[in-house]
């Protein structure tokens, strides 16, 4: 048995830890960045974006930085995430691209502190930066940021006063709902309807019917990709005239791919960024490279993870030769990323911008309608 094990792990290491050395260039540093993300289970869509973003950043590492990496699936259980981190910690680690599932992050945090490994993630949920743990860096606006943008757009730009909030009964949905509630309260608006939807629910006509019965002037969604598309399609089929402002899952190109452009007319969504919407030559280059590498459309999670790894690698290029040095660089530095400028608020929250994208009914590519910068919210845990 042991012999079998050692043969296997030997193959594993030769297959996975392939160093991409740049020929000729003087070595500015070495970076070992394991990618521990959910590739199976209900978050595999987002986890795959994370993986792709991280892998792309590692593939075009800055000059002189030698990169080693391996991708490990964390599934959806905290236990699997901790095991994956423990496995990665067996070697020398510069930083870890860590799962966007908040619960998994919470489980990994104490271990990351023990080992002294910076975790860079695009998780927007859960109070992962509220644990007084200096080793976590959130490269995606937390729910406190995105939901403030979400609520402000609904009330300030659209002038709506009677929102109906429909959220998923998952970590993503419950956290989003709690922060939406908070943000609306600050704005002096009270939702006329709030309901959680099980992610396994097939038909959303019942909840749509109930929401409309409350006479809302806007439908505010915080659902995962499939349910968001389903809801929008059923609303379109029933000729619902109330505008829809959805959560970040709407901006994922795979969500729009499920719908006809006409069904999307007038729908808006909050997100950190929308790479496919373009905006700068760098962004377009990123999107092109992503498409070429993975035959898929990039989303904000991919971009956030890409930006985060770029910042890690830049730190290594800048001389950060240990995990501790990288942690310092991340917590003290500023990084001009593709999605936004990242800078820690002292707790590891790096992203403070969110955008609202809207669909025109002719294309599945949204355009950025409104940008919110310098939002400073604190993501709270669920316990009030």
């Amino acid at each position: 048995m042991r012999r079998f094990l050692s043969i296997l792990s030997a193959t594993a290491f030769s297959a996975v830890f392939s160093a991409t050395l740049l020929p000729g260039a003087a070595l500015a540093g070495e970076a070992s960045v394991p990618v521990l993300v959910p590739l199976t289970g209900f978050l595999s869509l987002e986890g795959t974006s994370q993986r792709n973003g991280a892998v792309l950043a590692l593939k075009d590492a800055p000059a002189g930085v030698a990169v080693r990496s391996e991708v490990i699936d964390t599934g959806t259980s905290p236990e699997a995430a901790v095991t994956a981190l423990e496995r990665a910690a067996g070697g020398k680690v510069t930083a870890v691209a860590a799962s966007m599932l908040g619960t998994q992050m919470l489980a990994m945090l104490p271990l990351a502190q023990d080992y002294g490994i910076p975790l860079v993630t695009v998780s927007g949920t859960a109070s992962i930066t509220e644990q007084n743990n200096p080793w976590v860096f959130r490269f995606f606006p937390g729910d406190a940021v995105t939901k403030e943008a979400h609520a402000r757009y609904v009330t300030e730009e659209l002038g709506k006063k009677r929102p109906a909030v429909i959220y998923q009964t998952t970590a993503y949905g419950q956290s989003g709902k709690a922060h939406l509630e908070q943000a609306f309260k600050t704005l002096g608006v009270e939702p006329v309807f709030e309901e959680g939807v099980d992610p396994a629910a097939k038909d959303l006509l019942p909840v749509l019917t109930k929401a409309l019965a409350a006479k809302p002037d806007v439908l505010v969604l915080h659902l995962h990709s499939g349910p968001t598309a389903l809801f929008i399609r059923q609303a379109a089929a029933n000729g619902v005239a109330v505008p829809i402002v959805a959560g970040s899952a709407m901006h994922q190109p795979s969500t729009a791919a499920l719908l006809e452009p006409a069904e999307l007319k007038g729908v808006c969504a909050e997100t950190a960024a929308s790479p496919i919407s373009g905006g700068s030559p760098e962004m377009e280059a990123f999107t092109a490279a992503y498409r070429a590498a993975f035959n898929a459309e990039p989303d904000a999670f991919a971009l956030g993870q890409y930006d985060s790894i770029r910042m890690v690698l830049a730190a290594v290029q800048g001389g950060a030769d240990s995990a501790e040095a990288v942690r310092k660089a991340l917590s003290g530095g500023t990084h001009q990323g593709l999605a936004m400028t990242y800078k820690s608020d002292g707790k590891g929250n790096m992203a403070h911008s969110a955008v609202i994208v809207c669909y025109d009914g002719a294309s599945r590519v949204p355009s950025i309608t409104k940008r919110y910068d310098n939002l400073t919210g604190v993501v709270t845990g669920m316990v009030k």
């Binding site: 423990e86 009964t169 419950q174």
Partner: protein, 555 residues
């Protein structure tokens, strides 16, 4: 196996290896509990994952929100699942096989819904962080080797307890309840009580495992209540070897390590895991322990010395009086006001055409059916409507028309099952069982497996099992069916010998050539009503009996 695990943990394992080993320990403990309810008790409890999750949440909430320490949270984590198991066990355990499985699944789903939708208490779908580690007598157990050692210490403790229980009388009794609940009841075993105890004990194991799981991962979230946990435990139990403690441990170690070995395949590793799982179950359908048993067969245990049980004192005169017993199914009166008296040392024949109510009468007396009216008196006690095990304990034993013996057991073990309720140890029960086999001239069968015995020998073994109860009253349902003339003669001799010790026999039989010379008294039923009662000589000449049998004829 223990030595191999220990050597691996101490010498080779990295922190990562120890982490996987620790998690394997958690699942091993949960699977040991599952072996009790599912492996031994045969009840597919799909609430096992819920009990695991409840233990996890008890520790998670009390530890992270209330600041309780391990010494306080751990007992609560055992208690909460136990209470739920006792609460739901009573109504749910009455259900059979898949209905029981579905009911427990429903309970598990409700618990999961509550956990996800009560954010104020449970943290909702996000769960709760900040669960403290294990503190044993003031020593905060660090992760790595110490944590693995503590978890596996619990596995060893729980495993030892379960192993002793499984090998002991309780485990044997539970196995019989699984294989043949009807027979178990008629052998004096409290089927409901045994099932409830197994269900409750399994919940305690699951709760303990859940508590250790959150101490290991330091976060509690609804994942601990989700169906995959349940499926993992079930898979571990079956792949390891159903009903075996060693199976739970082997299965957990294998199945938790299996995916880790293929991690380098990135997204495809679970495909390989699935193929490996399929290959394992095809190659070892009785589990890893079953495979090991086949590769290294255990030496047969030496037979005990036969020993006559200290007999119940059987009084002279009437032992059992049945008065006006009545039972209807739908509109049909299957048994309609039947009375009879069985006297010590006598053999009574019960005859009648097919469907005349003979077997129903035996079922009513032995408690497998509840009578609509009438009395079953043993001495002054009315047993009518009592549970089968109570009736069996009062001194009534029976055999079945369709013999059912536990296929996996040896003949000796099958007969010894009759003594579990009465004897102090397995050894004593087997000594008494061998005595019973010897009395029927079947001692040479003792070491043989029940599976594959020819019909005549199966009847013999079943009779030995009933005899081992040393019954005051013995009810035999067609004991001669399928026997050759020689075997029938031999059986008649045995029955006379049994009666000679004072036992009262009631023999249901079609074969008049066998029965009439044997019985001192005959009762003939037709459509549930007594048609003839009297000496055997009068049966063939009674016009009513002849008419009832008509073409079937008094052979």
């Amino acid at each position: 196996m223990v030595a191999a695990l220990l050597a691996y943990a101490l010498l080779y394992a990295s922190p990562y290896g120890l982490r996987v080993l620790t998690v394997a320990g958690v699942y091993a403990l949960a699977a040991i509990g599952f072996q009790i309810v599912f492996g031994l008790g045969g009840a597919l409890s799909l609430a096992h994952g819920a009990f695991f999750g409840l233990g996890a949440y008890a520790t998670g909430i009390l530890g992270s929100q209330w600041g309780w320490g391990f010494a306080a949270t751990f007992p609560v984590s055992l208690l909460v699942p136990l209470l739920l198991a006792l609460l739901v066990g009573l109504p749910v355990l009455r259900l059979e096989s898949h209905y029981f499985a579905l009911a427990t699944l429903g309970i598990a789903q409700v618990v999961h819904l509550l956990a996800v939708n009560s954010p104020a208490l449970t943290g909702g779908a996000n769960g709760l962080p900040g669960v403290p580690g294990i503190v044993l007598f003031g020593w905060a157990v660090p992760r790595g080797l110490p944590l693995a050692a503590v978890v596996w210490g619990f596995v060893a403790l729980g495993g030892l307890l379960a192993w002793r229980l499984a090998r002991g009388r309780w485990g044997r009794a539970l196995t019989l309840v699984r294989d043949d609940p009807l027979a178990a009841g008629t052998l004096g075993l409290d089927v409901g009580g045994l099932r409830l105890a197994a269900f409750a004990l399994s919940a305690v194991y699951a709760g303990a495992a859940g508590a250790l799981a959150v101490h290991t991962q330091r976060v509690v979230s609804p994942e601990v209540l989700e169906f995959p946990v349940m499926v993992s435990v079930l898979t571990i139990a079956v792949v390891g070897g159903r009903g075996r403690v060693a199976g739970a441990i082997l299965g957990a170690v294998l199945l938790l390590h299996l995916p880790e070995w293929f991690r380098f395949l990135e997204r495809s590793y679970l495909i390989v895991y699935g193929v490996a799982l399929l290959a394992t179950i095809v190659l070892a359908p009785h589990g890893l322990t079953g495979l090991l048993d086949r590769l290294f067969p255990a030496r047969p245990a030496p037979l005990p010395k036969p020993e006559a049980p200290s007999g119940l004192a059987i009084a002279n005169g009437p032992l059992l009086r049945v008065e006006g017993l009545t039972k209807g199914f739908g509109g049909v009166r299957a048994v309609d006001g039947v009375s009879l008296t069985l006297k010590a040392g006598t053999i009574t024949g019960l005859i009648g055409p097919n469907g005349s109510g003979k077997t129903t009468l035996v079922n009513l007396i032995s408690g497998l059916e509840t009578p609509d009216g009438g009395r079953v008196l043993m001495g002054s006690a009315d047993l009518a409507g009592q549970r089968p095990d109570r009736i069996a304990r009062a001194g009534i034993a029976r055999t079945f028309q369709a013999v059912s013996l536990p296929e996996g057991a040896s003949v000796l073990a099958a007969v010894a099952a009759a003594r579990l309720e009465r004897d102090g140890s397995i050894a004593q029960a087997e000594a008494h069982a061998l005595w019973a086999l010897e009395r029927l001239g079947a001692a040479d069968l003792a070491a043989k497996p029940c599976a594959g015995l020819p019909a005549a020998l199966r009847r013999r073994v079943e009779l030995a099992r009933a005899l081992a109860r040393q019954p005051a009253v013995l009810l035999l349902d067609e004991p001669a069916a399928g026997l050759t003339d020689g075997e029938k003669a031999e059986l008649a001799g045995h029955l006379r010998a049994i009666a000679a010790t004072g036992t009262a026999l009631l023999v249901v039989e079609h074969d008049m050539g066998f029965l009439l010379p044997l019985a001192g008294h005959v009762l003939c039923l037709d459509q549930g009503r007594p048609l003839y009662e009297g000496p055997p000589e009068g049966v063939r000449s009674d016009p009513a009996v002849v008419a009832a049998y008509l073409g079937e004829g008094a052979r």
